[in-house]
C-alpha cells in the first residue's frame, strides 16, 4: 500500500521525460521567434538610420527618382530616391502574376478535374520538380534565351521589366499551380455531385461551382506566388539590366529592390549612408513580405468561414 502512495507522490520517469520534451520544444520555439524578431530589429535599426541619423526625408526616399547614394542629387540632398526600384518590383510582380494566373488555373483544373489520374501521376511531380530548380538556373536561361528573344522581338537591349516578367512567370507558375490544385482538391466532392445531379455539365460544374468554391484558396496561391516574385533576387538581377531609372517602357533596363540590394550590398561600408539606404530597401522588402503574409492569412480565414457548415 505504501509503495503505491510513494509512487504517487514521486515523479515517474515517464513524466520527467515528458517535461524534458516540453522544455526542448519550447526552447526551439523561443529560438525561432527570437531569430525572427532579431532580423526585424536589425533590419529596422539599420533601415531607419537613413531617416534618423542621415536625416533623409521618408517621403523623399519613397518618391525620389534618383538613386545614387553618396552623391548629391539635383535638389542638393543625397540621391536616395527609391521610387524606381519600388515601381520596378511592383510592376514585375503584378505582371508576372497576371500572366501566370490563367496558366496556373488552367493547369490546376486539368490536373484535378479533367484528368486527375494523369495529374497525380505525371503533372504534379513535374510541377513540384520545377519548384526545386535553383533560381540561378532560371536566371541563366533568362539571360541566354529570354533576353535575346525580347531584344529581337520587342527591340531595346532585351534587359528590362519584360524579361524579368517572363523569367518570374516561369518561376512562380509551379508554385501557383500546385497551390491552386490543392485548393481545387479541397473543394468537397459533394459540391460536384450536387451540381452534376442537377444536370449541370462538367464544364458548368467546374466553372460555376468548383472554381467559385476554390476562390479563397486560389487567391492565396496567387498572393503566395506574388510574394515569391517580389522577393526573388538573383534571377531577376540577371535579366533586368539594373539601371536605377524609373521604367518608362517594359524593354528598357530597370531595377527592383532585390536586384539593387544584391548588386550594392557588397560594395558599401557598414554605417555609411550608402549602406543604410540599402538597409532601408531591405526594410521595405521585409514590410512587403509581411503584408503578403497577412493577406494570405486574411484570405485563408475568410475562405474557411465560407466552407463552414
Amino acid at each position: 500500500m505504501d509503495k503505491i502512495r510513494e509512487s504517487l507522490l514521486k515523479k515517474s520517469i515517464a513524466s520527467k521525460i515528458e517535461r524534458r520534451g516540453k522544455i526542448i520544444s519550447l526552447i526551439c520555439l523561443a529560438l525561432i521567434v527570437s531569430v525572427v524578431f532579431l532580423i526585424f530589429y536589425f533590419v529596422a535599426s539599420r533601415g531607419l538610420a537613413t531617416f534618423f541619423k542621415n536625416h533623409i526625408n521618408l517621403w523623399q526616399f519613397l518618391s525620389g527618382t534618383q538613386w545614387n547614394p553618396g552623391t548629391m542629387g539635383t535638389n542638393g540632398q543625397p540621391a536616395v530616391g527609391a521610387l524606381p526600384m519600388i515601381v520596378g518590383s511592383f510592376l514585375i510582380t503584378i505582371l508576372s502574376a497576371l500572366i501566370a494566373t490563367p496558366f496556373a488555373i488552367g493547369t490546376a483544373v486539368f490536373m484535378t478535374e479533367i484528368s486527375p489520374r494523369r495529374g497525380a501521376k505525371i503533372l504534379r511531380p513535374v510541377t513540384e520538380l520545377l519548384v526545386g530548380i535553383p533560381s540561378v538556373v532560371y536566371g541563366f536561361i533568362g539571360l541566354q534565351v529570354v533576353v535575346p528573344f525580347v531584344r529581337n522581338t520587342f527591340g531595346g537591349s532585351g534587359y528590362g521589366i519584360l524579361s524579368g516578367t517572363f523569367v518570374l512567370f516561369v518561376m512562380i507558375l509551379p508554385t501557383v499551380t500546385s497551390m491552386s490544385a490543392d485548393a481545387l482538391n479541397a473543394v468537397p466532392r459533394y459540391y460536384r455531385e450536387a451540381s452534376l445531379a442537377l444536370g449541370a455539365t462538367r464544364w458548368q460544374t467546374i466553372y460555376k461551382v468548383v472554381l467559385r468554391a476554390a476562390i479563397p484558396g486560389m487567391l492565396t496561391a496567387i498572393v503566395f506566388g506574388m510574394a515569391r516574385a517580389f522577393g526573388e533576387a538573383l534571377a531577376v538581377q540577371m535579366v533586368i539590366g539594373n539601371a536605377t531609372l524609373l521604367p518608362h517602357n517594359l524593354v528598357s533596363p530597370a531595377s527592383t529592390l532585390t536586384s539593387i540590394l544584391t548588386m550594392g550590398i557588397g560594395n558599401t561600408v557598414m554605417g555609411s549612408l550608402q549602406n543604410n539606404a540599402l538597409w532601408s530597401l531591405a526594410m521595405i522588402l521585409l514590410l512587403m513580405s509581411l503584408v503578403f503574409n497577412l493577406a494570405i492569412r486574411y484570405i485563408g480565414r475568410k475562405g474557411k468561414l465560407n466552407h463552414e457548415r
Binding site: 468537397p188 459540391y191 450536387a194 442537377l198 444536370g199 449541370a200 468554391a213
Partner: protein, 269 residues
C-alpha cells in the same frame, strides 16, 4: 390495382404487369464493378410511376451503389454493365446525353449538400444553367419548389441568406427543392434523412409523401421504420444482390426470404 397484376419470379423479385402499372424505370441484369471487385452482381428491379420504392439492406449491401448507377453518378467511379430502361431507352448506353438524362432523373444525397450560395441561388443555379434568365420566371420556380418542399413559409423572407446558415433538416429540404426545381420525372434519394434528427426526418417524410403525387421516388434508407412508413414497394439488398422485392406490407409482415426476415427483425445488419 389488381392483385394478380404483379407476379413474383423464383428469385422472389416482383414483376409488374405493364398493362396495369406504368413502369417509370427498370434495370435489367445490372452489374457494377469497382475496379475488379463486383459491388452489384444482380439488379433486376422495376419501379412504378408515382410510387415510393425503398431500397433497404445492411451496410455494404450495394443499395447506394445501385441507386447512384441509376442516373449514372457512378460513371467515373465504377463500371456499370447491364440495362437501365427509361422511356424505352437504355440510359446506360454511350449514346445517351448524361447531363440531359440527369435533368429527368434527379438525386438527393445522404449529407445535405447545398452550395455556399444563398437559398435563392441554390435553386436558381440549375435553372440558369438551363438558360432560364428572366427574374420573374426564376422567382416563380423558386417559390414553387420551396412550397413543394414545404419550407417556403420558413424561408420566404430570407431567400438571400446563405444556405449554409440553415439547419440540417432545412438544408436537406432545400436540396430536395433544388432537385425538383428542374421538374425531374424521377427522384433518387440516398438516405436523405440519415444525418437528421427525428423531427426533421418526419418532415422530410411528409414532404416525400406529398411529392409522390407528381414524382416517382426511389429511396435508399437504413431506417426500416422509414421504409415501412412511406414506401409502397421495398427491395431488400444483401451482398450486392436483390434478395427480395415486393409490396412493402408484404416484406414487413410476410417476408419470403429468411435473410429478409432476419434483417427486418433486427437479427443482423
Amino acid at each position: 390495382m389488381a392483385e394478380n397484376s404483379m407476379t413474383t419470379d423464383q428469385r422472389n423479385i416482383m414483376k409488374f404487369d405493364p398493362k396495369d402499372h406504368e413502369i417509370a424505370l427498370s434495370t435489367e441484369d445490372l452489374h457494377v464493378f469497382y475496379g475488379k471487385s463486383e459491388a452489384i452482381s444482380e439488379g433486376d428491379l422495376q419501379f412504378e410511376r408515382y410510387k415510393i420504392s425503398a431500397l433497404i439492406g445492411p451496410s455494404g449491401s450495394g443499395k447506394s451503389t445501385y441507386l447512384r448507377s441509376l442516373n449514372r453518378m457512378n460513371d467515373r467511379i465504377a463500371t456499370v454493365k447491364g440495362k437501365i430502361m427509361y422511356r424505352g431507352l437504355d440510359i446506360n448506353s454511350n449514346d445517351i446525353d448524361v447531363y440531359e438524362m440527369r435533368r429527368h432523373i434527379g438525386m438527393v444525397f445522404q449529407r445535405p449538400n447545398p452550395f455556399a450560395k444563398s437559398i435563392y441561388e441554390n435553386i436558381a443555379f440549375a435553372l440558369r444553367q438551363r438558360g432560364m434568365t428572366k427574374k420573374q420566371d426564376l422567382d416563380e420556380v423558386v417559390e414553387r419548389s420551396l412550397r413543394q418542399a414545404a419550407m417556403w413559409d420558413q424561408v420566404k423572407d430570407d431567400l438571400n441568406k446563405s444556405a449554409l446558415a440553415l439547419s440540417g433538416g432545412q438544408q436537406q429540404r432545400l436540396c430536395i427543392a433544388r432537385a425538383i426545381a428542374i421538374k425531374p420525372d424521377i427522384l433518387l434519394l440516398d438516405e436523405p434523412a440519415s444525418a437528421l434528427d427525428p423531427v426533421s426526418t418526419s418532415q422530410i417524410e411528409d414532404t416525400l409523401l406529398e411529392l409522390k403525387q407528381n414524382y416517382t421516388i426511389i429511396i435508399v434508407t437504413h431506417n426500416m421504420q422509414q421504409a415501412s412508413r412511406i414506401s409502397d414497394y421495398t427491395a431488400f439488398f444483401n451482398l450486392g444482390k436483390v434478395l427480395e422485392y415486393a409490396e412493402t406490407g408484404d416484406i414487413f409482415t410476410n417476408p419470403k426470404v429468411d435473410l429478409t426476415n432476419d434483417y427486418i427483425s433486427g437479427n443482423f445488419g
